[in-house]
Structures are given as C-alpha cells and as structure tokens.
C-alpha cells in the first residue's frame, strides 16, 4: 500500500448493542436446544467443536459469555457508555501490537484457559488461584467507571468484577507488605508483536497497599455484562479509575506483595513522563501535552474536548489517600 491506513469499520457495519445481544442469545439457545434434542449426536458434535478449539484457539475464546452480575453502589452514573465496538477496537495492549486496532485483531491468540494467578512475596503462604475459583470468590458487580488514558483520551466503561481488596484478603499479606505488583501474561511466541518495541516484558504495574485496598480498585473479569474480550485484558485485570489507564494491568498472572515500590513498565520507559502514582491530574502536564482536557472516544472529530477532572472525578473517594503528598513531585 502506498499511502494511508486501513479504514475503520464503517458505522453501518457496527452491530448495535441489542442486535448483538440477540445474536448471542440466539446462538446460546440454538446450542441448548441442539443438545436437548439429540444427546448422542449432540455430544459427538460438541466433541467436534472442542476438537476445533485445539486448532483454532479463537473458537475457544470465552469473550461474550454472559456473567451473572449484581448492582453496585460504586457505579458512576450520568454518562453515555462507550460502545462495545470502540471498547474492543481501540486498545493499548502493546504485547499484541502498538496500533490501537491491532490488539482487536491479534489478541485472539491469548490462551485464557487454563489460567491461574500466582500470589507470592510478603504473604503468609504463597498460593495459586485458578481463574474459575476467582470468578466465584465474590458476587460479580456491574461497575461503570470513567477511564482516562495518559494520552488524553477517555472512555466510560461498564466493567464487571469485585473490589480487589476482597481478593487481597484471601492472599493473607503480611504486615510488612506495603506495595502490590501485578505481572501480565507474557509469551513471546504468542505475543510476537511485543518485540516491535524495545520494552522489557512482561508488563509490570504496581499500587501502594492502601490504593490496592481501596474499594474502587476493581478486580475485573468482564465488561458489558460479559466475559472480557481478550484485547481488554482477559481473563482477569484490574481497573483503577482515578489513575491513568496504563496503571490498570491486563491479563494478570502474578500478584506479588512487596515491602518496597516495584519497578513498573512505563515508569521504567520514561520516568519523566510516567510517574509511579500516575493519578489523573489536570494540573500536572505530561511533558509532551497538556492534561487539562481530554477527547472522549466515539465522538465526532468536531466534538468539544472535555475538561479533565482531578482524580478523574473520583476525588471525593480517593483524595484522602494522598493527604500531605506533593502531587506535582509524586505525579
């Protein structure tokens, strides 16, 4: 190709939300009646379907499977949700490509089952949690959060999960644990796009213990009431709504409790650009752009930029975590 980039999906081809749900429901009921109707033949067919999964991992992707959820008082109200199409076609997940549309094309390769999360470091005893056990640990809540990227764009996302604190309690950290580090899945054979960068993998992120224990910090398994699409960090990630998006580690395989601040990927890449805290803060500019305003994903190009709010609008809940701290220095 001489010039230009591939065009995005025309809006005429974007499946509206309810049509999409109908599609999923029909598919599911088709499968159910099929199995009810002819057990023997059905079982054989299912076997064949499973066999297909061996050859094409995408067939086995659980994304789109409905999750049982409950309401949460910690949900953000009054804002239009970003469409599922935009949430799944505009991603920063550099292990699957640095262009925003690449993870949507490539993350099908991520093997989300079997999946375990290893817990280590300053804990009573190191443990390994299976993803199925994590899904059942607490009721899954629907929580809408604003999501503000350090690149000055934002979304409104209906996540599904429960407070990370519930999981941390199960990990039994020692009193010496002051920080939590999250390591993402990394296999250079699966994520071959990662080597298009000079970044040291696996992706590492971290929170101070009190940040990790804050009820808003969400251990996340889904969005739009369904299992996370791979490109959004399946099968388990965190969502920390008052921090820039990169703090919310995706596809977590290791949770490590530490007595000191862990090294984190973007902070290592550019310490002057990406602080360890990276709280959303309109008064502290990124060295290369202002953080005063943001553009909301999915709006037309002539739409007015939105004013960025302190702590992404969650100041009432989280500002007390940083009392007495110089947020200009600890950006």
């Amino acid at each position: 190709m001489l010039i230009g980039k591939p065009s995005d999906i025309p809006s005429s081809e974007i499946t509206p939300r309810d049509a999409y749900e109908d599609y999923v429901n029909v598919r599911r009921s088709e499968r159910r009646s099929f199995l009810r109707g002819a057990v023997a033949a059905g079982a054989a067919a299912l076997g064949a379907e499973r066999l297909g999964e061996l050859f094409d991992p995408r067939i086995g992707a659980l994304a789109g499977t409905k999750l049982d959820t409950v309401k949460s008082p910690l949900t953000t109200t009054g804002e239009d949700l970003t469409s599922l199409n935009d949430l799944t076609h505009y991603n920063n997940f550099y292990e699957f490509g640095v262009q925003k549309n690449e993870p949507g094309q490539n993350a099908g390769a991520l093997p989300t089952r079997p999946w375990t999360v290893k817990v280590e470091g300053k804990v009573k005893t190191p443990k390994t949690f299976d993803i199925e056990a994590l899904l059942k640990l607490r009721p899954l809540e629907d929580r809408v959060y604003r999501h503000r990227c350090v690149e000055a764009w934002s979304m409104v996302i209906p996540w599904v999960g429960y407070s990370l604190s519930e999981f941390i309690k199960q990990c039994e950290p020692l009193s010496t644990a002051k920080y939590v580090q999250f390591l993402s899945y990394y296999d250079k054979k699966v994520e071959k796009w990662a080597s298009d960068t000079s970044i040291f993998w696996p992706y590492s992120e971290g929170l101070r213990m009190d940040e990790a224990m804050h009820p808003l910090t969400l251990l996340t398994f889904g969005l739009y009431g369904e299992v996370l699409p791979n490109q959004n960090g399946a099968p388990v990630r965190i969502a920390v709504p008052w921090k820039y998006g990169f703090k919310s580690a995706k596809s977590i395989v290791t949770v490590r409790f530490l007595d000191k601040q862990p090294p984190t990927t973007w902070n290592d890449q550019g310490p002057s650009e990406y602080g360890f805290y990276s709280n959303v803060n309109p008064t502290v500019d990124h060295p290369r752009w202002s953080q005063k305003t943001e553009r909301r994903i999915g709006l037309p190009f002539y739409a007015q930029r939105k004013t960025t709010l302190m702590f992404n609008g969650y100041a009432d809940q989280v500002a007390s975590l940083y009392t007495g701290m110089d947020l200009r220095r600890n950006f």
Binding site: L2, I3, G4, K5, S7, D8, I9, P10, S11, N85, D86, H89, Y90, Y94, V98, K100, N101, W153, D196, T197, S198, I199, W266, Q269, G270, E273, D285, P287, R288, W289, S290, R295, I297, G298, L299, P300, F301, R305
Partner: protein, 205 residues
C-alpha cells in the same frame, strides 16, 4: 517518454497522492473516522507528509543511478507539494482539533513541548520551498540560488523524523521504517557525488 504515458502517470500520481485526503474527507462526512477521529486525522496526515517528502528525496538518486529514469524529475515537484499539502493539513488539524484555536495553548505547547516545536519548525522550513516552487520563482531566483534554498528539504525531512520520534512513547519503534528510508537516501548523496565523478573523469582525461 510518450506524452500520453506521461499524462497517464501524472494522473495516477495525483490520484495516489490525493487518496488519503479523499478517504479522510469521506470518513469525516460519514462519521467513520474510527473511535478516535482526531488521532486518525493527525496520524494519517503526518505520516503521509513524511512519506511523500522521502519519496521526493528518492527521485534524484534514482535518476542518477539509472539514467533511463531521467523523466522522474517531472514528478519531484508534485510529490514535494503534496508533502507540503499534508503537512499543512497536519498543522491545521493540530491548531483546530488539539489546541482548539486557543493561541495561548499553542504558544504554551511550542515553548514547552519539543516535539511540537520541532513539528512547527518542519512546517516553517517547508513553507519557503512550497512558495518558490513555481517556474516563475525558479527563474526569478536563478537556478543556483534556487538549488541552494531547496537544500533545506534535507533539514526539513530530518526535523520531521525527529518530530515523529519525539511524539511516540519511549520504546515504541513505529518511526523506524521512515527513519531507515531517509537515512539510506541521505547516505546515498556522497556516493552519488563519487559515482558522477567516476563517470565524468574518463571524458576529462
């Protein structure tokens, strides 16, 4: 080259050069610029500026090494002017969509953010080149002066590439292909001088 072939090739070049702009316009009208229209416009126009600039710089070495391709000179101005066209769209998109026509925000950006300073410098370097691209200007300036002035294109291309590197996150290698292309073209220039001398010498002797 036959006149009809030249006309055909020029038409194709025009179409290829206008392609991205037409696509962007179509997408803007139909609201299909994607999840982040602003970034799409900025990246597409910026990338094509550098690509066209590099293509225009490839013409001289190609002609010199392959004398049969001498006719390529007829396309150099076209590519250069289209590079300026996309560079201008890129600059205007920044002014309108990023800075929102806010002059103090722009001055702040230019003062504080070196990648924007470098981008502005690149556009300002291209401006006199575009302005002196007419036959009238070439005659007015005289070939020698015109050539000297248009050496600025090398500076502009390097500034543009640096602007791209300073814009992407540390660790992202997206500007690599364009950088290597430009580096090869710049490295070819001394080789080109040597090549021409080598061809001239036997005649002189």
């Amino acid at each position: 080259m036959k006149r009809s072939t030249l006309i055909l090739l020029k038409t194709l070049t025009w179409a290829a050069c206008l392609g991205p702009a037409i696509l962007l316009t179509y997408q803007a009208v139909t609201n299909t610029l994607g999840p982040d229209p602003t970034a799409n416009i900025e990246l597409t126009t910026g990338y094509n500026t550098l690509l066209l600039l590099i293509l225009s710089l490839a013409i001289t070495p190609l002609r010199k090494f392959v004398p049969r391709l001498g006719w390529l000179i007829k396309f150099r101005r076209l590519l250069g002017l289209f590079a300026f066209f996309y560079g201008t769209l890129h600059m205007l998109a920044y002014v309108a969509l990023y800075a929102g026509f806010n002059v103090s925000a722009m001055l702040d950006d230019i003062a504080k953010r070196k990648f924007i300073t470098m981008g502005a410098a690149t556009w300002l370097l291209l401006l006199p080149l575009a302005a002196t691209s007419t036959n009238w200007a070439i005659r007015k300036l005289g070939g020698k002066n015109w050539n000297r002035l248009h050496k600025l294109v090398y500076v502009a291309a390097v500034c543009g590439i640096v602007h791209y590197w300073w814009q992407v996150k540390p660790g992202v290698l997206a500007p690599m292909n364009l950088t290597i292309s430009l580096a090869v073209l710049l490295a070819l220039r001394p080789v080109l001088v040597w090549w021409q001398r080598r061809r001239v010498r036997p005649v002189a002797a």
